[in-house]
């Protein structure tokens, strides 16, 4: 009885909600004493962090100079000339300077294709899909390796930096997706050979670390091949990465498949649909939508795992930054390593954060039906 009265009184006394920034502050940040304390603690931590970053990256940083000696001043922050002088190296690796336009064109075409495919407002989705998934890989392959139309061949030993990171990540993502769907369907198949080979493959690959697979591909494989037969290191890494992430992704997708009620398949049977029709039209669209967070999680993990190609002597972005830090005496200075790693970390973060935001957008669009 008395409780009711209290509630009524409170409701009477409460100020009108959502009126102006002051009310917003009061409601969200200073609604009680503990909240107020938390707000101040939060502000203080943010201030410390931001001030620290600004101090390091701008105030105490060195912006000009032609070698590491420029950064050998007491209490120095970031050593930016290290990044600006080596920028091309970090992005393209040892790709010949005269041919860099080819890498740039590849990046540009890829960006256009992806934008066309991923931004909902752009028309002509089927055309973009054909371009991005079928035409673009061929163009990119010939652009980057060369050998036709008078473009000199650029061996993959010369590729490096962000170029290798993106090649490994994109090929890994694009190739692992179909592999994963086939494996996931195979694992739920009624045909024993298909089922057991899928299970065997998935469990084997999940049982070994990626680093082991890469290592096997780079150290053991050449011993089994006849002498003189070598195949490209980058290709070995690509196959390893695609198979590895395919196995992981298969389990994510299987999770989605299992969430689709049996009734849906039975309904398909009742309509007389074939297996591919049932899967392609009913089960997969729903299952994939359910596991978007898991899929994107796998992709982000794959993107970051690309750094492991370092151990087989390929230089992705992190690898080449690390190489420059550790082996170029010209740039040796106490602040060089920090600057290099922060740069590499920032680039990785941009890509991973972009992927995560895009997946959230897709999730919202696809779940519009559920919210109605």
């Amino acid at each position: 009885m008395s409780t009711n009265t209290n509630v009524a009184e409170q409701e009477v006394r409460r100020p009108p909600a959502g009126a102006g920034p002051v009310a917003w502050l009061h409601k969200n940040l200073f609604s009680s004493i503990p909240n107020t304390i938390l707000t101040f603690v939060g502000l203080w931590i943010s201030y410390k962090l931001i001030a620290g970053v600004v101090d390091w990256a701008i105030i105490r940083a060195v912006f000009t100079g032609s070698d590491g000696d420029a950064c050998k001043v007491p209490d120095v922050g970031a050593c930016w000339p290290f990044i600006t002088h080596k920028f091309d190296l970090f992005i393209y690796g040892r790709y010949p300077e005269a041919e860099i336009w080819r890498a740039n064109l590849t990046f540009l075409l890829g960006a256009i294709g992806l934008a066309g495919l991923m931004i909902p407002a752009v028309p002509g989705k089927p055309a973009f899909a054909v371009f991005t998934l079928l035409v673009y890989p061929i163009i990119a392959y010939y652009l980057l390796t060369g050998g036709i139309f008078g473009m000199p061949i650029v061996a993959t030993e010369r590729w490096g930096g962000l170029l290798v990171t993106l090649v490994v990540a994109v090929v890994g993502i694009v190739a692992s997706f179909p592999i994963a769907i086939l494996l996931a369907l195979g694992r739920r198949s009624k045909l024993p050979i298909v089922r057991y080979s899928s299970i065997g493959f998935i469990e084997f690959v999940r049982g070994v670390p990626l680093i082991t697979m890469l290592f096997m591909a780079s150290v053991m494989l050449p011993l089994f091949l006849p002498e003189g037969v070598t195949f490209d290191k980058l290709l070995r890494a690509l196959i390893g990465v695609a198979l590895f992430s395919g196995a992981y992704l298969a389990e994510v997708i299987r999770g989605g498949l299992q969430a689709i009620p049996r009734g849906q398949i039975e309904a398909g049977d009742a309509l007389g649909l074939s297996y591919p029709q049932k899967m392609g039209l009913i089960v997969l669209p729903q299952a994939l939508k359910l596991v978007i967070p898991g899929i994107v999680n796998s992709f982000i993990a794959l993107f970051k795992d690309t750094s492991l190609v370092l151990i087989i002597g390929l230089f992705d972005l992190l690898g080449i930054v690390q190489q420059s830090i550790s082996s170029d005496p010209k740039w040796f200075s106490p602040s060089t390593p920090t600057t290099g790693y922060v740069f590499a970390g920032f680039i990785f973060w941009i890509f991973c954060f972009g992927m995560s935001r895009y997946s959230q957008m897709i999730e919202r669009r696809l779940s519009a039906g559920d919210k109605r």
Binding site: G68, K72, P74, H85, K86, D88, L89, G93, R94, Y95, E97, A155, E157, R158, G160, F215, S218, V219, M220, P222, L223, L225, E227, G228, T230, I311, I312, G313, F315, Q322, Q323, S324, S326, S327, D328, P329, K330, F332, S333, P334, T336, P337
Partner: protein
């Protein structure tokens, strides 16, 4: 059963040996057919193999390969460098992925005899050394008694230090760490007086410290780490090429032939120089190359001294003293048999 197994194994071994010998004979031909030399180098080691700002490989190990390429093709640019990690390097050589391994590899008996490779010379005499703060005013490692030494645990480095101090009846206090960066950080923070590692590394490490001038590398070297290029076992001709190209560079330094004065020297009267540069005799034939093989190698990378100074010596940032790597005439260990 056992004997059949043994026979089988023997047959397989014979086949393998036969196959490797047959294909190995052709290394020079294989390289000529490819139109380039494939050279395994370190993924990144200051002064030995590292890409510069433009991504060109530079360093002592890299220049050795350039010299070999120049001797074969008359063009030092005809080399494909394959960066290799420590674990990959031997497989890469055995499987034929690379023709020469020039990757700061220590010449040891087990590697030379049972790892399927042959070393062709010592391009750099490395060994464990000590770095101390200049303010301590030390001149020799013999004065280190009672010092605290920062060292990475579980390495040969640690064992070498223990042996050295015991042998010289000196005390020391080991300060051990799990990882190399921690070890260096501890030294830098003043937790110990001495930092120890291979001498070539000490010079590079010194540059990463705040003020390199405050630290000095002591002249003493307490272990043997002869670094040199290696080739696949079983191809004597190919081994000779790599061996004699390097000898030519050392001989050139001894005779005063440099990349700059080489044309002038070739016109001179010194018979040793004339033989080295192919003006007299047919010494290239013996290794399957043209007579001017030595000329081409020296012209492209300079003599050994020039190569050393440019990459790791006074002309570089590392500023490594010649020490053991000086010519035998200057009290060092670099000695090349004559071209005769």
């Amino acid at each position: 059963m056992t004997s059949r197994l043994r026979t089988g194994l023997l047959a397989v071994t014979m086949l393998a040996v036969g196959a490797s010998a047959a294909s190995a004979q052709a290394t020079l031909q294989k390289v000529r057919d490819k139109g380039e030399l494939t050279c395994g180098v370190n993924t990144g080691l200051a002064g030995f193999s590292a890409p510069d700002d433009k991504g060109n490989w530079t360093g002592l190990d890299v220049d050795v390969c350039r010299a070999v390429a120049a001797a074969i093709f008359k063009d030092p640019a005809k080399v494909k460098f394959v960066p290799l990690t420590a674990k990959e390097r031997f497989t890469a050589l055995q499987s034929g992925e690379i023709d020469v391994l020039s990757r700061n590899t220590t010449w040891t008996m087990s590697r030379d005899t049972s790892a399927g490779m042959s070393f062709t010379g010592v391009t750099y005499y490395d060994g464990q050394g000590f770095m101390v703060k200049k303010s301590l005013g030390l001149k020799s490692a013999k004065e280190l008694s009672g010092a605290s030494v920062c060292v990475q645990t579980g390495t040969t480095t640690e064992l070498n230090v223990a042996d050295y101090f015991r042998k010289n009846k000196m005390d020391y206090k080991p300060v051990v760490f799990e990882k190399l960066p921690e070890t260096l950080a501890a030294y830098n923070a003043g937790r110990c007086d001495v930092y120890t590692s291979d001498a070539s590394q000490l010079y590079a490490t010194r540059l990463t410290l705040g003020d390199p001038a405050e630290h000095v590398v002591l002249p003493d070297v307490i272990s043997k780490e002869p670094l040199g290029p290696a080739v696949r076992q079983g191809d004597a001709q190919w081994g000779n090429i790599v061996r004699w190209v390097f000898f030519a560079l050392v001989n050139a330094e001894e005779l005063g032939v440099t990349a700059k004065n080489i044309d002038e020297m070739a016109q001179g009267q010194n018979p040793e120089i004339k033989r080295l540069l192919g003006k007299e005799g047919e010494f290239g034939k013996g290794i399957g190359l043209d007579v001017d093989w030595g000329y081409q190698a020296i012209k492209s990378v300079g003599n050994y001294g020039e190569m050393f100074e440019r990459n790791v010596g006074e002309g570089s940032r590392l500023k490594i003293a010649r020490g053991q790597n000086a010519l035998w005439t200057d009290g060092g260990l670099q000695y090349a048999p004559p071209v005769r």
